[in-house]
Assembly symmetry: C2
Homo-oligomer: 339 residues x 2
DNA sequence: TTGAAAGCGCTAACAC
DNA sequence: GTGTTAGCGCTTTCAA
């Protein structure tokens, strides 16, 4: 391994000077600089991030906590898109991404904070974290710059980003209402999550605004999985008391609903309208295409990265709760109600 | 920040002893060990990975190079499943995952090797890397333990894993042949990739084995994207010379083919049979369900992790080229040929 | 504009 | 069983 000592010796300067050149400081004579740079290239020198990090206390890396399969056993439907936006943006500023995977630590070391400090990451991105994770509270209060997705948490150094769950739900409802629907059932996500509660609120708000009574029997609780959507629709079917439209808190649940409805002999998009939430890839591939509320996934990653960078690079920055707007995507599952 | 010096002072022992306890060495008296451990917990001490790495030359992290959007602008259809298997397995051995994202390095430092050494990763996982990447050749010959997916490359410290592309293609063809099809077109992936070439070979092999002449006009080159499958099918349709079945080198292309065929008024699964490759999630959600050759994705991640661990932990280990077997998944797009 | 030297937190000879 | 000490490769005062 080539170190700055090798460079220094070869160039006939001190390691300090080499370090200065490497870090682009101004107080080096042009000729020295050139000489050092030349040797750096010649020897194929690469700085050692650990050694640098030891002294500077920065690692130029950000940690990522991502709990997949929390309840579902499924992969997250749009992980890659968000993470790609995040990666591009943060990578352009010189950071690499550290995904925590190590599972051999003893209990004390398993907290978010401990693991982040262990790796000296400069910041943290958290996603799909259960709200009741025992070590989350400590992290919220910590001094580690972090951005958490889909959870309404802020702290001295923690900001959060969600899509406009409430607004998106209203958007979905408005589309249904504009199409003449007034009997609208709702399939909610796991109500222990912030997003699910917000979407439910949006549903209720839209109802209220239009003077439509809220019918608890039309509020079916699911858990964001296809299976739970399927089960919800089965319950609905069995009740015999059908709405003209169903608003699902996620596309995966909407797909489950579609399946159950079709099994029950109903033509989705004809006899019954359906709208989802998320706009996962599948929404445009199934038949009929699922009308839904799009989350801007790539953009969410970008915004998350920018917000985190600000928190890292400017400690005066007050963390915010950011909201991404949503978009209505019209496909085939909503039809105007024939009067 | 609490260091082993703090622990040592408080416990009235030397830092060496603390280090010994921390690393679980045997030559420490039980009472000393207990005392140190107690203080470690009490003070909430967390080891500093960078400092440790500096001396040990190991980082307990493995680097991941993943080129998304290589040509397609699309997210990889089964990234998460593979990476989850990998992450679980490697995490259980104490490693974290470093995703290279930093894009600010100058050219000299942009090679795989340079970036890996910069971060002192103990091993490397590479995926979706263009075969002609200019810095790949150097990595192959390097002494960094690495596993590369879907590329037929081995080196002194590099092993690779692919699914059985050839065998899977034969499997697909056999199913078609068993169902009476003899006029079978093939939509290939990007022929600059190893997997696409192998699958083509499998197609040709099966043809030959059954004494069916290879018809170049029925070998349509695509690039793994839906769009290219769509275009291929359009060409086929226009030629007027239709096969009874089409074997697609990927599910995404098969989906494109389906779309084009349906636009052309053909009933896929009735008038024309179709089989894909990969078994992406979408394959089971579209209508009709796509018959395909499944790649065992999670398992692939697990195997990759195990292979990499072996390479890291045992430098005598000779890297191998591993092949994962595939599975036929029967859904609705293949029908026996009426005679 | 340059260099000497200390120190970041940890491990590992080596000695006792 | 335990401690002393010398690094690991780098940055950063402080002096010159």
């Amino acid at each position: 391994m080539i170190t700055i000592y090798d460079i220094a010796k070869r160039a006939g300067v001190s390691v300090t000077t080499v370090s200065r050149v490497l870090n682009g400081y101004a107080d080096v004579s042009p000729s020295t600089r050139r000489k050092v740079q030349h040797i750096v290239h010649e020897l194929g020198y690469r700085p050692n991030a650990m050694a640098r990090g030891l002294t500077t206390k920065r690692s130029m890396s950000v940690g990522v906590f991502f709990h997949d399969n929390v309840n579902t056993g499924l992969s997250h439907p749009f992980f890659l898109e968000v993470i790609n936006g995040f990666k591009e943006t943060i990578g352009a500023e010189g950071y690499d991404l550290l995904f925590f995977a190590n599972d051999t630590l003893d209990n004390e070391l398993k907290t978010f904070e401990a693991r982040a400090k262990h790796r000296n990451v400069d910041g943290l991105l958290l996603w799909a974290i259960p709200e009741d994770d025992p070590s989350l509270a400590a992290l919220v209060m910590s001094s580690i710059p972090s951005i958490i997705l889909d959870l309404d948490l802020t702290g001295p150094c923690m900001g959060n980003i969600s899509c406009d769950n409430f607004g998106g739900a209203v958007q979905a409802m408005n589309f249904l209402l504009e199409n003449g629907h007034r009997n609208i059932a709702f399939v909610s996500g796991l109500l222990s999550t912030h997003s699910a509660r917000e979407r439910l609120l949006g549903y209720q708000h839209a109802l209220q605004l239009h003077g439509i009574p809220y019918r608890p029997e039309w509020m079916l609780e699911g858990d964001y999985t296809e299976k739970s959507g399927y089960a919800a629709a089965k319950r609905l079917l069995k009740s015999g008391d059908l709405p003209t439209a169903v608003f699902c808190s996620s596309d995966m649940m909407a797909i489950g609903v579609m399946k159950a409805l079709e099994e029950g002999g109903m033509l989705v998009g004809e006899e019954l309208s359906l709208i989802g939430f998320d706009d996962i890839m599948m929404a445009s591939y199934i038949t009929p295409g699922l009308t839904t509320i799009r989350q801007k996934k790539h953009e969410m990653g970008v915004i998350a990265a920018r917000a985190l960078l600000e928190l890292i690079e400017n400690s005066d920055k007050v963390p915010e709760a950011l909201t991404m707007d949503t978009e209505l995507v019209v496909r085939g599952t909503v039809r105007p109600l024939a009067l």
